[in-house]
């Protein structure tokens, strides 16, 4: 009976892994297949990566994406950390309301948020462009940063800072010698999160991108509409490897120093 249950559980786990990773594996294999029509058996070749290297549209979009995600990570992490500190350390009017208001942006469909941003930006004259995308991405990634940093802050509380103060540390010394090193892993994790939110973002970028400027997800979308080329497989493979690397970093940092 126990053996049966165990094999059922193992089978289930195998199925989940297959459904999650088979499409990705197929895509990565096809990125190295010479045939544009996915003919089997696979003829290993890096032709699509070479093609990609000459595809300025796709590379330009990738650069836009990376730069946007980096700037977004810096701004969202700075603002979000300050907000998380305020939530964790201070009492102020409307705190609970603000905390509740953090979560709807996570649950409201991006399509709706994107539409509303487009309307607002058009109406206020902000218009479209990378600056508008950045605004949208920062707004979108802030709640994630606040939640991640907030969780870290909660785990060590205010007494470490109080202890440092009783030992003669000025507020500035308290921040650099205690708060920052202890919060550090949480902040790094939040920054990676913010980077990923921006890098993955399609809907808002699509709505706010003016003609001629696009990000990688938007470019992939238009490329697929025009006719699929295996270059997409190649760039996707690169993205998958990069994001898995980021995720491993995230896992490492969110645990690092988490023990007390």
């Amino acid at each position: 009976m126990k053996g049966l249950l165990k094999s059922l559980v193992s089978g289930y786990l195998a199925l989940v892994l297959v459904f999650l990773y088979l499409p990705i594996a197929v895509m990565m294999v096809m990125a190295f297949n010479q045939s544009p029509l996915y003919r089997l058996p696979v003829v290993w070749d890096t032709v699509w990566f070479e093609e990609l290297a000459g595809n300025e549209r796709l590379l330009g979009a990738s650069l836009n994406s990376v730069v946007l995600a980096l700037i977004n990570a810096v701004i969202a992490t700075a603002l979000g950390t300050m907000a998380a500190l305020a939530f964790a350390r201070y009492q102020f009017r409307g705190k609970t309301l603000l905390q509740i208001l953090l979560f709807p942006p996570i649950t409201i469909p991006w399509l709706i948020i994107g539409t509303s941003m487009l309307i607002l930006f058009f109406w206020t004259g902000i218009g479209r462009g990378l600056h508008a995308m950045l605004l949208g991405h920062v707004a979108l990634s802030l709640p994630y940063v606040i939640v991640v940093v907030g969780a870290r802050l909660k785990s060590f509380g205010v007494t470490l800072e109080e202890a440092a103060a009783t030992l003669g540390a000025s507020p500035w010394q308290v921040f650099w010698r205690v708060s920052a090193p202890v919060m550090g892993p949480g902040i790094v994790a939040a920054a990676l999160f913010a980077f990923a939110v921006s890098f993955d973002q399609f809907v808002i970028s699509y709505f706010l991108a003016p003609p001629g400027i696009s990000t990688l997800p938007v470019e992939i979308y238009s490329a697929i509409r025009k006719g699929f080329t295996p270059e997409i497989n190649a760039i996707s493979t690169i993205i998958i490897l990069v994001s898995m690397g980021l995720m491993l970093l995230f896992a490492r940092f969110s645990r690092f120093g988490g023990e007390r």
Binding site: L160, A165, L167, R260
Partner: protein
């Protein structure tokens, strides 16, 4: 070292009074316990001395100088927190060195002082460990060493032994007291553990609802509780209510002789403590271990020297070295704590007499 004065300090949170006109004075080198139930204001007072709480009214002075405008990091205090608050990202050495390091002390001096301090708390050899690699008792000692290394004017302890198990707590109590004596630092500590307060303190203040109920040496406070709350919070107490009576009619009484408190049904209890005027209501407290328990009619006779009340055993709780009786005395349940000297405890239902000396009947404010 230093003298700390708390002068008419009040602190309100909304309509709740955390501290209400509290005045206390801690002598140089004194080990002073703040004892009370949670929410009684003892922690608020400790945090006010540290500088985390700003009193609404009143002053706190260290060596005569008010500290109201001195921020925490300039108050020159040491504090041990309930959960130690060791820095998780620093080694034991760096934790202990922190106070010297933020003051910019030279490295060689830091190393020497940390080593000496770790010796004092018997933690030599653990310098490179992280706090999470230490046992609870070791963490406690690191916290103490860290607080003492700057030679602060006052040491504040917030439930310092609360997170340890009972045996370790008793060991650490002795050690803590030794270290405090050795360093000779004025120490204020907060606890809700009455035994800990009695063991460690030179003096105790009992808190209730933001006020100081009583201040005194442990034995004073225990033997002569001022209020019913102090009597019941610090140890157990039985209460008898009656009215102050005239000196008993045997004619043998001079000044300082016991006076009587008349109970409702004609019985009387003698006390050597001052009483209000005749006829005024009086509440007497008697500690459970002050009674002697005898089979009905046995033992010393009642008279000027002894109180004697009859009762019936309701329950006898045997715990090896001692026996706790619940005795029905005139419809009131009285707790009696008896060293286990007799071979056979009194069974429930047995008629017994409780006998005790008049000096153990202590009038308390209700």
């Amino acid at each position: 070292m230093s003298i700390v004065e708390v002068d008419k300090v009040s602190k309100h949170y909304g309509t709740v009074a955390a501290l209400e006109n509290v005045s206390l004075s801690f002598a140089d080198g004194e080990f002073f316990g703040l004892l009370g139930p949670s929410g009684s204001g003892k922690t608020t007072l400790l945090r006010s001395i540290a500088g985390f709480v700003e009193p609404d009214q009143g002053d706190i002075r260290i060596d005569g100088a008010p500290v109201r405008d001195t921020p925490v990091h300039r108050r020159d205090i040491g504090m041990v927190f309930q959960n130690y608050a060791l820095f998780p990202h620093l080694s034991v050495f760096d934790n202990v060195a922190f106070g010297l390091s933020v003051r910019g002390a030279p490295r060689r001096e830091i190393a020497a002082q940390v080593a000496a301090m770790l010796d004092l708390v018997r933690l030599g050899g653990l310098q490179e460990r992280r706090p999470r690699e230490l046992s609870g008792g070791q963490q406690q000692r690191v916290a103490l060493a860290r607080a003492l290394i700057t030679r602060p004017r006052v040491l504040l302890l917030d439930e310092p032994l609360g997170a340890l198990d009972k045996r370790l707590r008793q060991e650490m109590q002795i050690e803590l007291k030794q270290i405090q004596r050795e360093v000779g630092i004025t120490t204020v500590f907060v606890t809700h553990d009455q035994e800990e307060a009695l063991t460690l303190s030179d003096r105790i203040a009992i808190f209730n609802e933001g006020r100081v109920v009583q201040v005194g040496q442990p034995n004073e406070v225990y033997e002569r509780p001022a209020t019913a709350f102090a009597a019941a919070f610090l140890g157990d107490a039985n209460f008898f209510t009656g009215r102050a009576g005239s000196p008993n009619g045997t004619g043998s009484l001079g000044a300082g002789a016991p006076r009587r408190v008349l109970l409702a049904d004609g019985d009387a209890i003698l006390t050597t403590s001052p009483l209000p005027a005749d006829g005024e209501p009086v509440r007497l407290a008697v500690r459970p271990e002050k009674f002697e328990i005898y089979r009905s009619g046995a033992g010393p006779a009642a008279g000027d020297a002894m109180n004697r009340l009859s009762g019936r055993v309701l329950q006898a709780i045997y715990s090896g070295s001692s026996i706790t009786y619940k005795v029905d005395v005139r419809g009131q349940e009285v707790t009696v704590f008896e060293q286990n000297r007799s071979a056979q405890p009194f069974p429930p239902g047995e008629a017994v007499d409780l006998v005790w000396a008049p000096r153990h009947s202590v009038p308390v404010e209700p």
